[in-house]
């Protein structure tokens, strides 16, 4: 047994008080246990273990080439902290004579070495962080720091406090080495160097003062830990453990039809969506407690970047604020209208940029939609124009409000003879035209191109025609779960009538809804986006293209194709094969970092009157590539880019085309 350090009894009294105070400070966090049950929990233990390692310990998502400085800074802070945590734990155990056979002693050379390395890394990280907050001052990084946490130190204060802690650690090490002169002192390379600054006698004299300084700052840190930004170091691990990466971004089904047929439903008091903080699931509350306020979401949010009153971070921290202010999970305070305004919620395009960049895996979109559900389903207050499109969706099966009976008019007008399931009953491919493809003149061109491609490739296909209804995507994202579910159940009934192998659609919103969201209502469909379908037709030689190698193309990644469904390569491959291998000029914001067109999340159907238009922002970025063509692979993106082209008066300089149009114009045979 090694020699045990002598620790004064009064220290233990302080330590006890500290632990009690820490537990007391934890109480706010325990409010999450009063949240609603969670239906999106992960199933695989091993996957979660892997994620804890990947996103927790290695912090893979903290490192982003869009936030390099912060990534490096956090690396030093986190690993400095981890090493010191390890060292302190070992020290705590060995000082009490526990496991001394296996654990290193204070002056075991390797242990002493990494101990000092950890301290140095922490100090380096702190200096980088303090410099960032005082000189760089990133625009969106909050400075008030009190939001939802309510500690007096603030985010800057905790950095200074940690600096005192780290410097105090080195000083007390130096004092110990200076006073005791142990054999392997030199391995504590920083403490040892410091110890040479003063004489052994001086160290002996001041050692108790330094020791107490470090002891008290350490205890204070532990005491206020749950009140500070540093609390994330604990909560984030919990959050990662309970986050199913595969289900992030997917909305929780409400099963409204069950609710409507339940005779015992307490209609007056039932919570539809989230109006009060305790209507969230405990996982959503855990999300809010995990937010580190790094502001990456707000920095990249298209609504925030165009001056709209939305900050994803603010909404998440507002939820935490409400959570921390509840009285043991009891709160009847309204969340929306007080902390969070309706305009903030309606500004979200559900593009997923916030979720993509979030280092701690917060599930923003479903949380925002839950609050929209409250506004629409409970309060009946969608944005005015959106309300109209919702009523039209319910009435006519499409958000434009065109008659259902005219759903195939685009084909009739073009003189196209298209097989319809009502007559054909069975086909290999169900071509899902979608509302935009059916009614919007610009997108009708895409549908016509698709038909020509189908015929060219000899595909056995048919459409649903007047039996097709909106998938309910926009309605759902506007919080109108009732209309979404009505549409979903209606479409699923129609699917059951016919026999087909797969669905092909040009709309990523339809693709996303049919693929992921209809599952909750019993439909397991094989859905192929037209970018993948076209790519396959080209690769298998079912269609052959004349490659004229003319004209460069910049490709605008659609949020629901790229970020939400990870389809990045197929559309690029189609462009290369129809316009030449080197035809693509990428925009600065591409792939996972693509910038929204502004139409998602129901924003196609109403206007936020603050700030600039998102589609103009994106179009300007596209035009700066000097590409001859802006290619899209989404019905909404096509409308938004086409519209921006006209608003900016660039019809002579660029053309906006869908992938299908690109391919169709290169087909050797036009049918």
């Amino acid at each position: 047994m090694t020699e045990m350090h002598h620790i004064p009894t009064v220290f233990y009294i302080f330590a006890l008080v500290t632990i009690l105070y820490t537990i007391y400070n934890f109480r706010r966090f325990f409010g999450i246990f009063s949240g609603k049950p969670e239906s999106k929990l992960p199933k695989s233990f091993l996957t979660q273990l892997n994620h804890l390692f990947r996103y927790g310990l290695l912090q893979r998502k903290v490192f982003s080439n869009r936030f390099t400085y912060a990534g490096v800074m956090h690396f030093f802070l986190a690993w400095g902290f981890f090493i010191l945590l390890f060292a302190t734990t070992v020290d705590f155990l060995t000082a009490r004579g526990i496991l001394t056979k296996f654990l290193p002693a204070l002056d075991t050379p390797w242990f002493a070495f990494i101990n000092d390395l950890g301290g140095l890394m922490l100090i380096l990280g702190l200096i980088l962080a303090i410099f960032r907050r005082t000189s760089q001052k990133p625009e969106k990084l909050p400075n008030s720091s009190l939001s939802g946490r309510g500690n007096l130190l603030g985010d800057m204060g905790i950095l200074i406090f940690l600096l005192l802690l780290a410097v105090g650690g080195f000083l007390s090490e130096a004092a110990r080495l200076g006073a005791d002169q142990p054999q392997f002192a030199a391995f504590s390379w920083i403490g040892y160097t410091l110890s040479k600054a003063l004489s052994s006698e001086t160290w002996i004299a001041i050692k108790p003062v330094i020791w107490w300084f470090h002891a008290i700052t350490s205890l204070l840190f532990i005491a206020v830990f749950p009140m500070t930004k540093m609390f994330h170091a604990f909560v984030v691990f919990l959050n990662i453990a309970f986050t199913d990466q595969g289900k992030r971004g997917l909305l929780r089904p409400m099963h409204v039809s069950d609710l409507l047929s339940d005779p015992d439903a307490d209609i007056e008091n039932i919570s539809l969506g989230v109006g009060n903080v305790m209507d969230f699931t405990w996982k959503q509350l855990l999300d809010s407690a995990s937010c580190t306020e790094c502001a990456r979401c707000t920095t990249l949010c298209p609504a925030a970047q165009t001056g709209k009153p939305l900050s994803p971070m603010k909404i998440i921290t507002d939820i935490r604020s409400a959570l921390y202010n509840t009285d043991n999970g009891k709160s009847n305070d309204k969340l929306i209208g007080k902390l969070i305004t309706e305009t903030e919620l309606w500004s979200c395009t559900t593009c997923g940029a916030c979720m993509e960049i979030c280092p701690v895996l917060i599930d923003h979109i479903p949380t925002f939609i839950d609050m929209r559900r409250h506004l629409v389903l409970s309060e009946g207050t969608p944005p005015e124009m959106a309300g109209e499109s919702l009523e039209k969706t319910a009435q006519n099966g499409n958000p434009w409000g065109f008659p259902k009976s005219k759903r195939l008019k685009w084909a009739e007008d073009a003189g196209l003879d298209i097989p319809v399931f009502a007559e054909k009953k069975s086909a290999d491919v169900l071509y899902w035209v979608g509302c935009a493809g059916s009614y919007d003149p610009r997108n009708q061109e895409v549908s016509k191109a698709m038909i020509n491609i189908f015929k060219n490739a000899g595909i056995d296909f048919a459409v649903l025609g007047t039996e097709e209804s909106c998938t309910g995507d926009s309605a759902r994202r506007m919080g109108e779960e009732y209309i979404f579910e009505t549409m979903a159940l209606q479409n699923i009934e129609i699917f059951k009538k016919y026999s087909f192998n797969k669905i092909v659609t040009q709309c990523p919103h339809c693709y996303h809804t049919l693929t992921h969201e209809y599952q909750d209502f019993g439909a397991n469909l094989e859905v192929v986006h037209h970018s993948e379908f076209l790519n396959e037709l080209i690769n298998t030689g079912k269609i052959s293209l004349e490659n004229n190698d003319e004209g460069s193309v910049t490709y605008h990644d659609a949020c629901y194709l790229g970020r939400h469904n990870q389809i990045f390569d197929a559309p690029r491959s189609v462009i290369k094969k129809s316009r030449g291998r080197d035809s693509i000029i990428e925009m600065p914001r591409n792939l996972q970092n693509s910038f929204c067109c502004g139409a998602g999340g129901g924003n196609m159907w109403h206007e936020i009157n603050e700030g600039d238009r998102i589609n103009i922002n994106r179009f300007d970025e596209a035009i700066q590539t000097n590409a001859a063509t802006i290619a899209t692979a989404c019905s909404f993106c096509l409308i938004m880019m086409d519209d921006a082209m006209k608003v900016q008066g660039k019809e002579q300089d660029v053309e906006v085309l869908d992938l299908a149009e690109l391919v169709n114009s290169r087909l050797k045979i036009q049918i």
Partner: protein, 258 residues
Amino acid sequence: MKICVLMKQVPDNDSAIILSNDSSSIKLNDITWCTNESDTYALEEALLMKEAHGGEVVACSFGRESSQQVIKDALAKGADRGLYISEEESDGFDILSTAKIFTQALKDENFDLIFSGLQSNDSGNAQLGLLLAEMLNMSHAALVMGTEVLNDTRIKVKQELEGGWFQWTELDLPASITIQSGLNKPRYASLRGIMMMKKKPIDIFDSSQIDSTGSKNKIFLDKMYIPQKVKETTFIEGTPDEIASKLGDLMINDIKVF
């Protein structure tokens, strides 16, 4: 305040209208039905009044089975009770006969106010509210753009006159008022409202059982046709001043937009 709102189910404006072979009616299969536009404003005005002064809002519709949807929508938005007068052949009734049926159905209810849309989008008579006022001995006002309750027995209404003029008028209750579109913002039916609707009563009257002696049609439909769309383009030529003056003249005297 006990308010009745008369609501009619009409073809949606965007509906595909196809005439029957004998041109006496439209084919109903292809029609998307909706609530008559100005009736939705009438309902909203009634609901706002109820919220401010208390009372009851009863949504009343006359027509084929599917008309009950109009009542259900009104109940989902906040009306308290429905009153459905069933008549599969309601299209065959002229406006006076229709008013007589409504009179029979409403006379025992003693409503303080009857709100109706200014006119229906399909037959466009614009008379029902006024006929009812006469038959039920109520005061009346048409083309109402605003309401203000003065006390339990009097109401003030803002009526639209021609040429952009308005007039405030005071009426004794009970009164029948026809509402012009645009005076408020009709609310959205929330899911909570739809759930509550299912627990609200709809009283059903069979129009054949209503004593409608004397309600014989005086007006008969001869023929229906879809008007030909004519596009007329006039080029105005001359100096900018001449063009402006001719354009102004056209707008004031021919198109009458001012």
